[in-house]
């Protein structure tokens, strides 16, 4: 039973992962710092999942990245203009979904 709940929770979180990541990239972050920020915000993500996701979002044109090699070489990611627009649209869609789900779960009509 607990395993089934965990699977369901993983599926739920997978759906909002992109939104969670975009929300933390208004300021530049490198992979590990982003993972820490998400974990502190209550959204722990496996490292093996997060890092490739960052590259996919960059390939989709939502993020910009640059290397900082002053100390330990690290790649910093941040939202670009398209990423800002996508974040705003997804945030609105998410709030709408939350409203719909609340109504469904409470058994009310829209």
């Amino acid at each position: 039973m607990a395993e089934r709940e965990n699977t369901g929770l993983t599926e739920l979180r997978r759906g909002v992962l992109v939104l969670a990541v975009l929300s933390r990239l208004r300021i530049p972050q490198y992979g590990y710092s982003l993972r820490q920020a998400l974990a502190e915000g209550g959204m722990p993500i496996e490292e093996g999942t997060l890092y490739p996701l960052l590259r996919r979002l960059e390939a989709q044109g939502l993020l910009a990245s640059e290397w900082n090699t002053e100390h330990t070489p690290r790649r910093y990611y941040r939202l670009n203009a398209e990423g800002e627009r996508t974040l705003a649209a997804l945030t609105e869609a998410w709030r709408d979904q939350v409203r719909v789900m609340d109504q469904l779960l409470d058994g009310r009509r829209r």
């Binding site: 490198y30 992979g31 590990y32 496996e46 490292e47 093996g48 890092y51 590259r55 790649r75």
Partner: protein, 310 residues
């Protein structure tokens, strides 16, 4: 080997699975990220990073191929959705090659070599199909097909009549068949049966099944199409006839020590007929296997759906 060596080795192995233009970039970033993760792990443990610590960290990333797959998804040679059909076709190829090699239709062929060639051809066909679908995702991928029961009355009448003429009439009375079909222009002595074959159980059994074949088509005329029982009847009739025709060709060889049972009085006719009997028999057996698979895999809609008005 220290912790850094372990991570370097892992990063190299991940990069090997990636396209050449991505390798160095991903490797550099992955190396930095794993370094951060390892440093955090060491800090939490209150000791310097070591090999077991690095191995534990990498366990969470999965095998290098899995990690690389998250960075760059390569297309499968055969689409996962095609796997079932690929296996069915491979099995059909194995059965076909096995039957062909048993009756030695292809002479001194290597059955394992032929099977590998069939398998290779299937891999190429399925790969090209998958590639085409990926290149043209908007192209229609499906067309409606006629159901397994489909058999219009007109076609069933044609099938029954054709079966009565060929092969029933031809097998039951070969000399009359030649005289009627060729309007008496060809000599009939070449197809004169031997006395032993005329009275053999083999001929009797073959004639019985041959006569049942048009009877089956008559049933489809009455029923306005195939039903499950007529489908299985077709499997039994075609499979039985196939085996009997193979027996026409292979009986003397198949049962050493038995007397040779020539079909025709003319030795030359027998020489021509034996491979034809073998080929027809093999085709009928293969067709019966295919029909049996279709019947076994038949999808019958639930009664409620079947009775729904159009």
């Amino acid at each position: 080997m220290n912790a850094n060596d372990v991570i370097d080795s892992y990063v190299r192995d991940v990069a090997r699975y990636l396209p050449r233009e991505k390798r160095n970039d991903v490797a550099f970033e992955l190396r930095a990220l794993l370094g951060d993760e390892l440093a955090a792990k060491a800090q939490a443990a209150g000791r310097a990073p070591d090999k077991p610590m690095a191995m534990e960290l990498l366990k969470g990333f999965g095998r290098p191929a899995e990690a690389a797959g998250r960075y760059h998804q390569r297309a499968a040679l055969i689409d996962p959705t095609d796997t079932h059909h690929f296996l069915i076709w491979s099995l059909a190829a194995a059965v076909t090659v096995s039957v062909l090699s048993r009756i030695s239709l292809a002479g001194a062929m290597s059955s394992s070599g032929l099977f590998l060639q069939c398998l290779g051809a299937l891999v190429v066909v399925f790969s090209v199909m998958g590639w085409w679908r990926r290149r043209h995702p908007a192209a229609p991928g499906w067309r409606p097909k006629l159901g397994p029961d489909w058999m219009p009355r007109g076609l069933a009448v044609v099938a029954m009549t054709a079966t009565l003429i060929f092969p029933v009439f031809m097998y039951v009375a070969p000399q009359t068949f030649v005289r009627v079909m060729f309007l008496g222009t060809l000599p009939t002595s070449g197809v004169e049966l031997t006395e032993a074959f005329s009275q053999s159980t083999l001929r009797g059994a073959t004639m019985t099944l041959l006569i049942l074949l048009p009877a089956m088509y008559a049933a489809t005329i009455v029923q306005r199409g195939f039903r499950q029982w007529t489908g299985w009847a077709s499997v039994v009739l075609h499979g039985g006839l196939g085996l009997l025709f193979v027996a026409h060709a292979a009986l003397p060889d198949a049962l050493p020590g038995t007397e040779i049972l020539p079909v025709f009085q003319s030795a030359r006719s027998n020489l021509v007929a034996v491979p034809i009997f073998g080929a027809v028999g093999a085709l009928l057996v293969l067709s019966a296997f295919y029909d049996a698979y279709r019947e076994w895999a038949r999808i019958s809609p639930a009664p409620a759906l079947e009775n729904r008005p159009n």
